[in-house]
Amino acid sequence: MPERPQDRVASPPATAPVSHGESIEAASLHLTNPELSWIRRYVFSTDHKWIGLQYGFTALCFLFFGFSLMLLMRLQLGWPGHAFALLKLLGESRAPGGVLLPEGYNQLGAMHGTIMVFLAIVPLGVGAFGNYLVPLQIGAPDMAFPKLNMFSYWCYFIGGVIMLSSFAAQGGTPASGWTSYVPLADIATRGQTYWLIGMVFLITSSLLGSINFIVTIVQLRAKGLSFMRLPFFVWAQFVTSFLLLLAFPPLESAAFLQLMDRLAHTSFFLPSGLVVSGEHLTNAGGGNPLLWQHLFWFLAHPEVYVLILPALGIVTEIIANNTRKPIWQHRWLIYSVLWIGFFSFIVWAHHMFITGMGTLISGFFQTTTMIISIPSVIILTVLVVTLWGGAIRFNTPMHFAVAFLPMFGLGGLTGLPLGLATTDLHLHDTYYVIAHFHYVVAPGTIFALFAGIYYWFPKITGRKLNEVLGRIHFWLSFIFINGVFLPMFLQGLAGVSRRLYDGGVQYAHAKAIAEATNPWISISAWCLAASQLPFIINFVWNVVAVIRDKRNAEDNPWQATTLEWAAATSPPLAHGNFAVLPVVYRGPYEYSSPEYPKSDFLPQNVDLHPAASPGGGMLAGTAVAQREA
């Protein structure tokens, strides 16, 4: 989608108190100068906006692919042992004659989890939304290290290609789950080595990206934009980056150790006397399988917050904008997100209650787990109370954002029994766990990401997505996604294990509930897939329209207060984002401010007392706009 803002004359929106008079001249100044080759502009670009879009497109493709793997698994789970023509796609080694083998099922499961977490959601929430919006929201011309930014994207891309190429590996893809638990993963087929090497690339990408985000936020904030004036989305990205920076390296170490086990025949994770297929392993032994679990969950619990925090950021922006009110107790959002960031490093072993760690350690991790639920509840409370008494505009982004609140709440509350060792003993590794974390990530995070796509699409393209198609997409998705995950709570409470390739029908205790619910879950999942059609049509249709240069949105179509809308054109200038770097005078959510009765929003960069401040281009423009108003 080429950006051609030179064709655009930025016109000041009728209701906005900001003048874009300056940007007309600026646009002609800037866009004549990027004389970059096609490759430098669209493939190896260093512009954060284009890199953000690259992340976005790649991650959406992976999201679709990971979802498709799950659709194939659901065929087997709904109707175990039946032949499906579609499953023949997986090849004779995984599904001979269209009947999925247990080995094939395990491969699909491991790849679904890996792709969704590491290649779809994190790159969408952080790589795409973070990259595109953070520099715009803090009034910066680009990220602090543009070349490093490009390098991060290509590391991610290579990591993704390596993961996908494991489908062609001898013995198939990794099949030890997204957690790659040892000793199983140590002795697994060659695909596991692809997983480890792919992870090293993905981790490197996240690590370099997080350094870039933190430096950008600390160093490149516009004049007057103190930390407490940052939009919550930027705060969420800031804390997320610290989680990625500090939690990912231990998994990188663990990946090296597992690689050594697999390639140099060390025994970091292999205990003595292990028997595989009736034969003693010849390794030296003396290793510790729990070491892997500790190192893995030391990353993977903060990773849960990496999945959810950008989503909370997106939802906060959209709720503030559409309630036309300031966020109630905005500062508590910030305290809570810092609290979550800190505590997420000391809760990891609640994933390991059944490993026999001992009651003292279990007690510690139960306590920290209960404590970390408090800031999440504060954040939800802040957002729910913000809705109170607002004249809410129910557009498509707001539908998704509001639906996020109860869905994330349900996901969070059902996590409490998993955080207490006593109840976890029963629920561990059942469908209850699947339902719990999917409520957080699927109708939680993915709904927030959809909200973000609908909300910022006009920012990126200058064109709004279709409202009717958007609402159809929302309502169908909302119904069917609950149809998928709600019954899984019941399955889990009945004790159905999450790893069974027939959905549990081979076990007496699980047979009745599995047969009663699994076909309906599978039908819901396929209907959920069909519900994405309105979105795909809407998206492709509008992208094509943008490429044909048909735009229908103003610079600030949602009448928002934050800098990306109030100080930049839509789409932003290709090179440098702003005609003049903005100056910030107030917090991010000054909606319906009594200070400014003329309009129901007061952008961060509007100077209400221009005479008292040193003059600049933007200030003069604003003053003129005010006189006219």
Binding site: L246, S267, G576
Partner: protein, 207 residues
């Protein structure tokens, strides 16, 4: 209108690439390298934790000094400490505008780094000739993994200093302050590599 034109030129450039931002007191790359080092602490921290867990859980554990080459490793320790000194001297000379001595000290740092790697290669060769490989036992696995990853970091330093000594030095003519900053940042990384060895040496060779 003049202020306006200046503003436009300013827009295209990313602020604080060379000079520190007044309220944070650092330039971008310096904050970046500190964050990178924080992540490196976590990387090696995880490896040291793994080492401690495996060692405390083992009924018997080999003693490094009984068969590893302690004198050579001691020499290597002093080599790395010396290289940490020379990299600071390289930076301070550049700060004073003295490119010649700056490059001499940078070259010394590079030589020390290569010397360290050669010594490490001699040690590895000796271990393999004696029939000790990573697969022998968990001590050798820890030894090869941790010194190997550290060796890769030293190799990274060799590449960085070779670049700044030869092709990268062109920047001295165009942007002296930025070139000096780059050496400072590379030096911070180098101190960290040195520090990791200071922990590795006693925990693998002496304890």
């Amino acid at each position: 209108m003049e202020a306006h034109a200046e503003a436009h030129e300013h827009v295209l450039e990313i602020p604080y690439t060379v000079h520190p931002r007044p309220d944070t007191g650092v330039y971008n790359a310096k904050l970046g390298i500190w964050l990178f080092l924080a992540s490196e602490v976590m990387l090696f921290g995880a490896l040291f934790s793994a080492y401690i867990l495996l060692r405390t859980g083992a009924p018997t554990w080999p003693r490094g000094w009984e068969f590893l080459n302690v004198p050579l490793a001691t020499l290597n320790t002093f080599i790395l400490i010396a290289s940490s000194v020379t990299v600071v001297l390289a930076w301070s000379n550049l700060r004073l505008g003295n490119l010649k001595w700056g490059r001499i000290f940078m070259g010394l740092t590079l030589l020390f780094a290569i010397w360290f790697l050669v010594d490490k290669g001699i040690e590895y060769r000796h271990e393999f000739l004696e029939g000790r490989s990573p697969a022998t036992n968990n001590f050798m696995a820890v030894y090869f993994t941790m010194t190997g990853l550290h060796g890769l970091h030293v190799l990274g330093g060799v590449i960085v200093f070779t670049y700044f000594l030869f092709p990268g030095a062109k920047m001295w003519k165009t942007d002296r302050a930025r070139y000096t900053n780059r050496i400072e940042v590379a030096g911070l990384y180098w101190h960290f590599v040195d520090l990791v060895w200071i922990f590795l040496f006693p925990s693998l060779y002496l304890m």
